[in-house]
């Protein structure tokens, strides 16, 4: 994956994070960070790992790629794990965590 497309992934992920922070049902101070980091990791990890892995050996066509970034698994997995992380942690930073 090229540096330019990786930088683009980071920017898009953090823009999505900021959008979630302002538009989310329970906004907190760290939504942008959680969504940004997890979406970046998910997109990079899926693009680099899923094509060619044994787990997904039955999938032979992964669709289009951009400068080494395989779009479909990258965007899909980035979206999935960012959503999971956001939904699981959205209550964490708006209330005390210790009794």
């Amino acid at each position: 994956m090229g540096l330019a497309v990786f930088a683009a992934i980071v920017v898009v992920a953090f823009v999505a994070g900021v959008a979630v922070q302002f538009l989310g049902a329970k906004p907190s101070r760290y939504d942008f960070l959680i969504v940004g980091v997890t979406a970046t990791f998910g997109a990079y990890f899926a693009s680099e790992t899923f094509p060619g892995s044994t787990v997904f050996a039955t999938i032979t066509n992964w669709g289009p790629s951009l400068d080494g970034f395989v779009l479909i698994p990258g965007i899909a997995f980035g979206f999935i794990i960012a959503t999971v992380a956001y939904l699981a942690t959205r209550d964490l930073y708006t209330s005390p965590t210790t009794a």
């Binding site: 997890t38 990890f45 942690t89 965590t97």
Partner: protein
């Protein structure tokens, strides 16, 4: 001269940085990312072994793949070459497995074990147990002379073990751990049951 009295029930508190890293749910997203990486590495390695049906490479049919691997690493090298396995006791253990044909059992154990560790870490179910099992396999592969990704996975496995209470927070452990409780705390009971027990104790 000062004297320090140490009571039997002294509990050494963790430093704040350790509490933050390993016991605070606010860092759950970090462990979530690490779990995904380590878990998928295990799942991919295990699934590769499960679906391999080669006559000389399979792990789950008759274990021919691991038998060939054991024979390769336990073989005595021609001097001045050094043996693949550094420790004699581990070489003896591998020789024992080869001699007694444990490949059928261990082939299945390793293949399905790696898949189970991978799924446990990905879904966040019993993360501590899964990480211990994964780290133990990493340790064995390193003792067998295989480097590859094992040092990194072993380190991350250690960290996941340390963070077992919160590493599965974004996952099934968020629900499993409170339901099952811990051996030293007992199972979670309803507030009604707690009130009833308290009332009973108060009347005694």
């Amino acid at each position: 001269m000062s004297t320090t009295i140490v009571h039997k029930d002294t509990i050494v508190a963790d430093p704040p940085i350790a509490k933050l890293l390993f016991s605070d749910t606010r860092l759950a997203p970090v462990w979530f990312i690490i779990r995904m990486y380590v878990g998928f590495s295990w799942l991919d390695a295990g699934w590769h072994k499960v679906i391999d049906t080669g006559a000389k490479t399979n792990y789950i049919i008759d274990g021919a793949g691991i038998y060939a691997f054991w024979n390769r690493i336990a073989a005595a090298p021609v001097p001045p070459a050094k043996p693949v396995i550094t420790y004699d006791w581990y070489n003896g253990f591998i020789q024992f497995l080869v001699t007694n044909h444990w490949e059928g059992f261990f082939g299945k154990l390793i293949a399905y074990g790696e898949v189970a560790v991978g799924l446990g870490l990905i879904f966040g179910a019993f993360v501590g147990v899964a990480a211990v099992a994964g780290a133990f396999m990493n340790l064995n592969y390193l003792l067998a002379g295989t480097s590859s990704t094992n040092p990194v996975l072993l380190l991350l496995g250690f960290l996941l073990v340390l963070a077992w209470k919160t590493a599965g927070y974004i996952g099934l452990d968020r629900y499993l751990l409170p339901i099952l409780g811990t051996p030293w705390r007992g199972m979670k009971v309803s507030s009604t049951a707690q009130k009833r027990a308290a009332t009973t104790l108060a009347t005694l």
